[in-house]
Subunit: 214 residues, 2 copies
DNA sequence: GGATTTCTCTAATCTTGGTTAGAAACTCCG
DNA sequence: CGGAGTTTCTAACCAAGATTAGAGAAATCC
């Protein structure tokens, strides 16, 4: 039973290093379950028994893969921040080279919203609980979030330098407001009330008109 | 300032109905303490012992005024939503009659932000924990929030009808995004990094340019 | 000033839920 | 088949923290 870094106890994939050993699958299943419960019930409301139930296992089995509840939570939080960043980065990387800075900004808005609302419980869990888990659990995830912040900062700076964002705009504040608007969406969005396409379009409009040069 | 309805156990202010009986003051002190701790530590991290300490009392004393932890929390949440709404309403009411619809919108942004960031732990507690307290505690506060939503909806509708907001804008979505942006501010704003005035100005710009007609 | 009521304290109780122990079950070769 | 290693289960264990009991201050009223 070896530990690497601040990481959870993880069973050594001794003999098996196949595609995804059964053990690794179970670990993943538990992590997924934790993300789901965490995204729905929040840190306070997340019990190991619930996570176990979703994962189709008994609570103590979790300890075979994670050394404590907090370690499990921390990993979900980190994954959430990490995955969103990766997704947005990859989406941007796939854009044609001649895309304008504003194009890139709008695509980032699209990617962020769709990913957090449709794809990933990890993202939702990470967003909703960032400010609610105990301090010590925020360290690693915070590093990821810092990277993500930088990504957005760069997008805005580039757009402003290209003259596609008003020169007098305080892009740092605007960026934080925008991220807040997008993060808070998880608290209210209901697919039955409002389509994701509409939501994305409105959010993009908020950037295009709110920050862009007329 | 007493409330009726599904309220907590409250000592009957039998003989004393002075300005603010000592008893009433203590109750208030506990409520204030709860708002402060709740706004800082969140629902999960709020212990009655902490609240008691801030209020300068022992934990069991809380039970003389509130029948349970959850009842205490619920009252803070309700107060938070209620006070913000009242403050914004009063601020708007004080505007001259010839104010434009956009003026009113921008003033509302100003009032909301300043109140939540400077004035009231109740507001902060209410915002940060809205999605994290158990379902049953959300009922009463939710009613207040619905009223607040309506206030904003009316502001936007008026502005759009007056032609001061783009006719093609989905004001409902925009409103929710804006409220999200403003609510999320409690998660990141630091007065030492960024002045409140700058923040307010940027948020107002987000509305003026993002929603307003050019 | 004493009696009654109001308020707050210390000490004890109870529940919830994370965590640990240690016994089964299961897997994977040989 | 049989045994070593891996995985998961049941049955405790334990700590934290909400809540209750009941005694003792403090205020209030006649």
């Amino acid at each position: 039973m070896d530990v690497t870094g601040t990481e959870a106890a993880r069973p050594a994939p001794k003999s098996a290093s196949k595609s995804a050993s059964k053990s690794e699958q179970t670990r993943q299943r538990i992590l997924d379950a934790a993300a789901e419960v965490l995204s729905r019930k929040g840190y306070a409301g997340t019990r190991l028994a619930d996570v176990a139930a979703v994962a189709g296992v008994q609570a103590p089995a979790i300890y075979y893969y994670f050394s404590s509840r907090d370690v499990l939570v921390e990993e979900v939080m980190w994954e959430g921040a990490h995955r969103v960043r990766l997704h947005v980065e990859e989406t941007l990387a796939a854009l044609p080279d001649d895309s304008t800075a504003m194009d890139r900004l709008l695509v980032a808005v699209d990617a962020h919203l769709r990913y957090e609302l449709q794809v990933s419980d990890y993202a939702t869990a990470s967003i909703r609980n960032a400010g609610h888990v105990p301090e010590q659990l925020r360290v690693r995830p915070a590093a990821e979030e810092a990277l993500y912040s930088r990504l957005w900062r760069d997008l805005f700076v580039a757009a402003q330098q290209a003259g596609e964002v008003r020169a007098d705009l305080d892009v740092n504040t605007f960026r934080l407001l925008l991220l807040g608007a997008m993060n808070w969406v998880v608290e209210w969005w209901n697919p039955r009330t409002r389509s994701l396409d509409e939501l994305v379009a409105t959010a993009q409009g908020m950037v295009r008109h709110g920050a862009g040069t007329a």
